[in-house]
């Protein structure tokens, strides 16, 4: 049994423009001790997904369906009080806004101790000692516990939040863009810290990022999200070596690659669809260089492919060929976009 098993999870936001389907039937799983990278553009629903897993969503958001099973218990069926027992003891989150996640009017150490005492049931003395150990673990001096958040640098706050997340020895850590707000050197330090922690503590990790190189660095498995769906998932090695979904191929071209020494980065032209009214067919169709008629009408399900992982593409069986031509195909779209507004986002443009 996997540690975490998410099945058909859907989340929507109620806005003045209508309800936005931010997460649309996402299924994924994480083995105990495993690590899953969740990649996709901003707005694809990955942060919403993370917050849905721990059930702390913005006020206007609502989980509309699915199941989140942690060690077999469906978290969505729990009452708020019961859920509170799972938060931090089982699942901890390093939120995307880690920089602003510490209460500015309390000393960082006191916030740590508060969590350890109220949630971990530790005595004041024990909590203090544990807070110091946690700070050492993430590479912060223990005297820093006496400081206020505004006395910390960005990287230090990030570390402090990671230390906080590890406070109660969670089985699963969800880190949402843990390094995005940091400069490159600090990024590397924080990533090294995370990697080291994974090695030392038997911790399962969900790492959310738009940067696939970070995933390649830290994770065994990867799930690629687009427009609120998982479009491809499998082991990092397989997915990046033999991507089955054109979006994954595009992502690989758009980032400074680790293994393929590509000379030029090719962006994916266009924008994700409006999720107030999700398209009937494949959500990626308007931006896809390999789009066929079927794509506009029928949303492809996530199914196992020949190469041993899962993808949601009608042309997954041709993936090897398409993948080879992908850089050129995406580049062609880019040129077209530069030449003029001939590319519509609807069904007209590319057929």
């Amino acid at each position: 049994m996997p540690l975490l098993d998410v099945e058909g999870l859907s989340v929507e936001y109620r806005t003045t423009q209508g309800s936005v389907q931010a997460v649309r039937g996402v299924s994924l799983s994480v083995e105990a001790g495993g690590s899953l990278g969740l990649v996709g553009e901003s707005g694809c629903g990955k942060s919403t997904l993370a917050r849905a897993l721990i059930r702390v969503l913005p006020r206007n958001a609502r989980i509309t369906g699915g199941a989140v099973r942690l060690e077999g218990t469906d978290l969505l069926s729990l009452t708020e009080e019961e859920m509170n027992q799972y938060r931090w003891r089982k699942i901890a989150v390093v939120p995307q806004a880690a920089m602003d996640s510490l209460d500015p009017v309390h000393r960082v150490g006191n916030q740590m101790v508060e969590t350890l005492r109220l949630r971990g049931g530790l005595t004041a003395v024990a909590a203090r000692a544990r807070a110091e150990r946690l700070f050492q673990l993430v590479g912060l001096e223990s005297r820093r516990l006496e400081h206020y958040p505004h006395e910390f640098s960005g990287g230090m706050k990030q570390r402090a939040v990671i230390a906080m997340a590890l406070a109660l020895d969670p089985s699963l850590l969800i880190a949402d863009e843990p390094v995005t707000a940091l400069d490159v050197i600090v990024q590397r330090q924080v990533l090294a810290t995370l990697r080291q922690l994974r090695a030392e503590l038997t911790l399962s990790l969900i790492l959310i990022t738009h940067d696939i190189s970070v995933v390649a660095h830290l994770c065994q498995d990867v799930a690629v999200m687009y427009a609120g769906r998982v479009v491809e998932r499998g082991t990092v090695r397989r997915v990046f070596a033999a991507p089955q979904h054109p979006y994954t191929m595009g992502l690989r071209n758009a980032f400074p690659s680790l293994r393929l020494h590509q000379m030029r980065l090719v962006p994916i032209e266009g924008y994700p669809p409006d999720l107030v009214a999700p398209p009937r067919g494949c959500a990626f169709a308007p931006r896809c260089p390999f789009v066929i008629a079927k794509c506009w009408d029928e949303d492809p399900p996530l199914v196992a492919t020949e190469s041993g992982h899962m993808a949601a593409c009608h042309r997954a069986n041709e993936a090897a060929v398409l993948s080879a031509g992908a850089p050129e195909a995406f580049a062609r779209l880019e040129r077209l976009a530069e030449e003029g507004p001939i590319r519509a986002t609807g069904s007209g443009g590319l057929r």
């Binding site: 859920m83 938060r87 931090w88 602003d100 209460d103 009017v105 109220l118 206020y148």
Partner: protein, 327 residues
């Protein structure tokens, strides 16, 4: 250094406001139609007697001389003598100022304590019936005229149930060895109850709404979300984190509130015949007792502008981030 400069400039501004107020008062009272001593002068007085009186009050000199004499006196805390009682105005003010301060502070402290709790509660219960009923109720307390609420309180609790006295700060004929002995006497507290509660009922609206609004903002902040993720008890999140952060503007408003509510004391003190500065002012204006009116007004204005100044400085002291740039 910049901080000192800031304090200095705010202090200068405060003194400027006081000077303008003093000058305005001087002009208003000197330009009022009719002889300033008209209420005081007996129609049977001879011309010589009138002149003597004018001289006695310094009203025979040219206006600009009077103005400088007046400013000089103000600077020394001299407000002249009452046209009626012939007592020094400063004594008249000093006699009633402590009563006003006691009334205002007790009402304000109560109002802010209640208001902070109510505001936090309204914010914590947003979208519920508590909010739907609570907000119009709070608005109603802000919309109801203070003097009317005071009248209702008097009619019910003083005249009907006879629980509290209807006027004054102490019972007639009572003598106390000292001011403090008076303030802590049961008699004084019984007299204080109705006016202080009425004033507090009016004053609690501002801190309640302010607390609620800042709380709502704070509760959308990332650190509160992080608290929720950690599974902290709701009570801890609301009290230790959200409310503690929302408190800053409310505490600042308290200092401002002292100034504003002292200005509004004229009403409450009149309804409850509370021997304070506001009532002194109202009676002096009605009776055209200019020196007293001037003195009372200047003191009111001074308290107000200095409390505004205090509020500004307090904000700096309370915020642990004050010397740091916050994004």
């Amino acid at each position: 250094m910049t901080r000192l400069l800031f304090i200095a400039s705010r202090l200068g501004q405060t003194l400027l406001v006081l000077w303008v107020v003093a000058t305005l008062l001087f002009l208003i009272f000197r330009l009022m139609p009719g002889n300033p001593l008209v209420a005081y002068i007996d129609p049977n007085f001879t011309q010589e007697m009138q002149q003597a009186l004018l001289r006695q009050f310094g009203l025979d000199k040219p206006l600009y001389v009077q103005y400088f004499v007046y400013l000089g006196n103000l600077a020394r805390g001299e407000f002249g003598r009452s046209f009626f009682t012939r007592e020094p105005v400063s004594k008249a003010i000093w006699d009633v100022l402590p009563n006003t301060i006691m009334l205002t502070l007790s009402a304000l402290v109560l109002a802010y304590l209640v208001g902070i709790v109510q505001g936090a509660l309204l914010a914590a219960r947003r979208g519920t019936r508590v909010e739907a009923l609570g907000i119009p109720m709070v608005l109603a307390t802000r919309a109801a005229p203070e003097f009317w609420v005071g009248m209702l309180a008097l009619a019910l609790f003083s005249f009907h149930f006879n629980w509290f006295p209807s006027s004054g700060a102490t019972s007639p004929g009572s003598v106390y060895p000292s001011m403090w002995a008076k303030f802590f006497s049961l008699d004084f507290l019984r007299h204080l109850t109705l006016p202080a509660l009425t004033l507090a009922l009016y004053l609690q609206g501002l801190p309640t709404l302010l607390m609620r609004n800042t709380m709502l903002e704070v509760m959308d902040e990332d650190f509160v979300t992080f608290c929720r993720m950690r599974g902290l008890p709701e009570r801890t999140i609301i009290l230790r984190h959200a409310a503690r952060n929302a408190l800053l503007p409310v505490v600042t408003a308290f200092a401002l509130g002292v100034g504003y509510s002292i200005g509004g004391d004229v009403i409450i003190e009149t309804v409850f015949s509370w021997p304070g500065l506001g009532r002194l002012l109202v009676r002096a204006v009605s009776a055209k007792d200019y020196p007293v009116a001037q003195g009372a007004f200047v003191i009111l204005a001074a308290i107000m502008v200095f409390m505004n100044l205090a509020a500004d400085l307090l904000y700096g002291l309370l915020d642990p981030r004050v010397s740091h740039e916050r994004k």
